[in-house]
Amino acid sequence: MTMTLAQRERRAATAPTGLPRLLAGRPDLAGHLAAFGPLPPVAAEMQAMTARAGLTGRGGAGFPTHRKLEAVAGRRGPRVVVANGTEGEPLSAKDKTLLIQAPHLVLDGLDLAAQAVGASRRVICIERGNQAVYAAVCVALAERRDESVEVVVTPRRYVTGQEAALVDFIDGGPGRPTRERPFERGVGGRPTLVDNVETLAHLALIARFGPEWFRQVGSPGSPGSALITVGGRVDRPGVFEVAMGTPLSSVLQLAQAAPPRAVLLGGYFGRWIPARSARQLTLDAASLSAHGAAVGCGVVAVIDDDSCAVAELARVAAWYAHSSAGQCGACTWGLRDLAAATSALEAGSPDPRVTSDIQRWTAMVKGRGGCRLPDGAVAFLESGMEAFADEIAEHQAGRCRRRDHRLLPTPTPEAWG
């Protein structure tokens, strides 16, 4: 018997085995439905399913997603869900890749999250300047005949991706972090769930294939798959979907990395891990937390022997100083002085006060911002000072002969409107 198109779309697709999962998605609605089948009516069970799946946020903080769903669902009045696709982390490309390749997975996840928490407003945020991403989302929404999802284009600034800053921007503000906690007072003063777009896409698959299926891949403590962006000194940079718990060395092989001197895990918010420790690591929370590291937003960047790590530290420290929203004293002035000191280090200052100042100021600004931006700078610089101690000594002695000084991207943030 031949099936009509509608029947074929309604038939549940068989659960994908192995990987890729998210990246098996298709940009067009017909392809999406052929790959994954329609969304089953599971909104009422979504919280429990997400808890059993053990899904954690893929936007950086790695917080259990079901607890965020519960927090917003438990509040009174109209609620809002925001899909965070801004991806201001300069090394990360996974959210853009996902939105271009499988926008319907993200939009399914947005719908599910909205149903699960009882939200009447759905918003998706994308950073300005990513034309292909914007087009993919708009075309997908048109295909779904869904005119009620708001597409908000945000300025190119890392901090505007922070959840309270995003809420501020959606509400017509400049997009600076505020003191509000979105699950209490978010968009329009309403309880708001802000989830990363990859997190939402996983929800769309958990709804279809169940929490046990989700856990078939990954480790017990860190279940599921994750999108990882590999960059820096590699021959095949790009976005890869891997099982959580994959050895870091396998990820580096996928991207044909040069023999690393150190690996930056978690992007500019993450930590430098020297090669000798990196060899034993797997991409799960337990293995990484022993090194104070985390998968974070899934960035893995490699630095090789030809690159001057001190130059990279200095450039990223300056990027952090520029990224500050200029509201909190420790962030505004602390990051400025840290950038100046790191730059003096790069220039070869033999003054031992430069390194002691960096140590003093990283300790001083830690935990003192209105958002976690300064903590990101501290993790990056502290781990870098440790991983590249020998090279810092070479600089102080005026003996750094490494050729490359421009490995990591440091885009200038858009001015505050």
Binding site: P177, Q327, C328, G329, A330, W333, G334, M364, R368
Partner: protein, 83 residues
């Protein structure tokens, strides 16, 4: 057991430093003149000073927060009150 601690909104704070003068036991200043809060519980003798610091902050960046103290059983048995 309940106690009060000082809490700061770093976004609102303008770094006037008045709070440090009024409550140096819990508020020091960093290299840029902004307050660093010591979150240890306020002892009774400090409460009046803490309230004055909160009331005198020109931008209302400070407040006192009530926290539940968790007393470590081992310390209790050892006879040393954790608070």
């Amino acid at each position: 057991m309940r106690a009060k601690v000082v809490e700061l909104d770093p976004i609102a704070c303008d770094g006037h430093g008045i709070c440090h003068e009024l409550l140096p036991e819990r508020i020091t200043l960093d290299d840029w003149g902004y307050p660093i809060i010591d979150r240890r519980p306020l002892t009774d003798d400090l409460l009046a000073h803490a309230n004055r610091a909160v009331a005198n902050c020109p931008v209302l960046a400070l407040r006192l927060k009530t926290v539940e103290l968790v007393i470590d059983e081992r310390m209790r048995r050892g006879g040393r009150g954790a608070a």
